[in-house]
Symmetry: C2
Subunit: 339 residues, 2 copies
């Protein structure tokens, strides 16, 4: 089974964007999207490519770049998160074999992360979602809040632990002109979050808390020696135990990058992801293949055994997202069915 742990509903009907625009202008409007419109948006987008590329199931969440927690106030973010999460829920109900939900949180600059708990609980316990996206910088590129290891985040982490759901650390769009969104802010956010984890004792306090750092972990694997050295120097401890709690996806858009990732990071910590129809939607003129067809790169990675590839494609995701595993077991999909 091929599980893509990183998908956003980037092909959502334009009605959604129009509604958001009005929301930010303070104009009340009703959001009307029919099931047929959802079907068309998915069948012509993520589902089409999932099938073409040989995937089976995608962990599906609202558009990361549109979370834009820096816009409006906390109430704005709460309503917007509900709207987006409900739309994902409808996708998952229409295509239950292909999509399982991951939620957007109603974060807002300066608002206590604890205020996200009700929406997280609703999404997990009522809508059947299996994880959440956590924005380490709700200020949208100015990094005005505390690091992810600050105690202000702890109530939310307690709830994540209680619900047994991981978070993907994922920034949203950047309103800082220095940072291009997907070309700088996304990657910087990944690198920054990892270094915050390295410095702190978060996982002593929450031994079962789990984070997926997307986009191949930002710059982290490439600078693995730097991080090993920094851990030894600043915290007098090896870096490797962090890997009990921190995982990386495969959203690295070229074959050498994926080969390198699998060389440096233990295979147990790598989850297949593509973020397809996301940052880079075109084809590589050198190969004719889509840049974001990361399954090709994993398939081509000769150093991986079948067992290792199975971990990356399926079993790691089921381990990191236990509620996904439960969904699949309920459907009779055993963990190693296709190995």
């Amino acid at each position: 089974m091929i599980i893509d742990c990183h998908g956003h509903f980037t092909t959502a009907p334009k009605t959604l964007h129009a509604w958001r625009k009005k929301q930010l202008e303070g104009i009340h409007s009703d959001l009307i999207i029919t099931d047929d419109e959802i079907r068309a948006a998915v069948e012509g987008g993520q589902l089409k490519l999932q099938k073409e590329r040989g995937g089976d199931l995608t962990l599906f969440s609202p558009i990361a770049g549109q979370m834009a927690h820096h816009l409006g106030n906390e109430q704005t973010s709460l309503v917007w998160a509900e709207v987006c999460n409900n739309l994902i829920h409808r996708v998952c109900n229409l295509f239950p074999d292909n999509f399982v939900g991951v939620c957007q949180l109603p974060q807002s600059p300066g608002a206590p992360p604890a205020n996200c708990i009700p929406e997280l609980r609703r999404c997990v316990e009522e809508l059947g979602f299996v994880g959440c996206n956590l924005n380490p910088d709700p200020s949208g590129g100015y990094w005005l809040g505390p690091p992810l290891t600050d105690p202000v985040w702890y109530p939310l982490y307690e709830e994540m632990v209680r619900l047994d759901v991981p978070a993907m650390v994922h920034v949203s769009s950047s309103c800082n002109p220095c940072f291009h969104g997907t070309g700088a802010h996304y990657i910087n956010g990944d690198t920054t979050a990892f270094m915050q984890f390295l410095l702190a004792d978060l996982f002593k306090d929450f031994p079962t808390l789990r984070f997926v750092i997307p986009h191949g972990g930002g710059a982290v694997p490439y600078h693995w020696g730097r991080y090993r050295g920094l851990s030894l120097e600043t915290r007098q401890r090896p870096l490797e135990p962090l890997l009990d709690n921190v995982f990386f996806d495969t959203c690295v858009y070229h074959e050498p990058g994926i080969r390198f990732l699998t060389e440096v990071i233990p295979v147990d910590n790598i989850l297949f992801g593509s973020e397809m129809i996301g940052a880079v939607r075109g084809r590589d003129p050198n190969t004719g293949a889509y840049f974001d067809d990361t399954k090709r790169y994993v398939d081509a990675c000769a150093r991986l055994t079948a067992e290792e590839r199975h971990k990356i494609f399926e079993s790691n995701a089921r381990r990191v997202y236990p509620r996904l595993d439960a969904v699949l077991r309920n459907r009779g999909v055993d963990a190693a069915a296709d190995l």
Copy 2:
């Protein structure tokens, strides 16, 4: 010949730090450092390791983390840059075979970069420096200024072109609690600068302007496919011509990282650098070798031919820093003497 393009005087006498502290407190004091103190600081530090590791010459600049352009005002930064650059000049005069100067610029948040021109000119034309360090974020981790491609930087670039000196894009310390200095802000700065270059037409306006992006280019080589795709999508042009103007050093502190760098980035764009006695000063317990002994990694890189290794160790630096080449030719060191 082995040229390390990335060295800072991190072992400078403590007197320097005490002087800076007083400066920031607004207390006038005289900075007195003897030649013997400089000799001791260098001979027990960068010179010792340069010799032990088989290097010949280091492009030497003031401590990057201490530039701290966000502290004080423009006048503070100007005086501090002069003090630091003069100290580097003294090192280079005491050890002319081993060190050639690269200067700190008197940047300050909100101040026009054009105001750095007199100090750049003084360092290059009077002190014999061959390049400068350019801080893309003088606000120290808040990124409150314009991108490096904004016209406000153009007068400085005109002077760099006139003097024929490149800049290493190098942030300083971070005063943002989200960003650890060497573990996040440094790497993010590298990634951010590259993406700014990708988006703009800076090198159409300055075809001979050259930047070295340190720390192996931040996250850029690891995400080369992402950047290739982003260039094609956002600018409808291939990424590769950027490499006429942008270069990466080898400050990647593990062997697989260096191997990967040389696999993805053309060898003509890679300059040997170590930033020794910098971010990571310890030894890898797995090998007993220093993490920042990057020469070992380049030496071990079996894919490199002797000619390619020579480019990385010497000839690329001489091409990117023509004034360094002139210094060496004046000394009778021909470009390919040891090939």
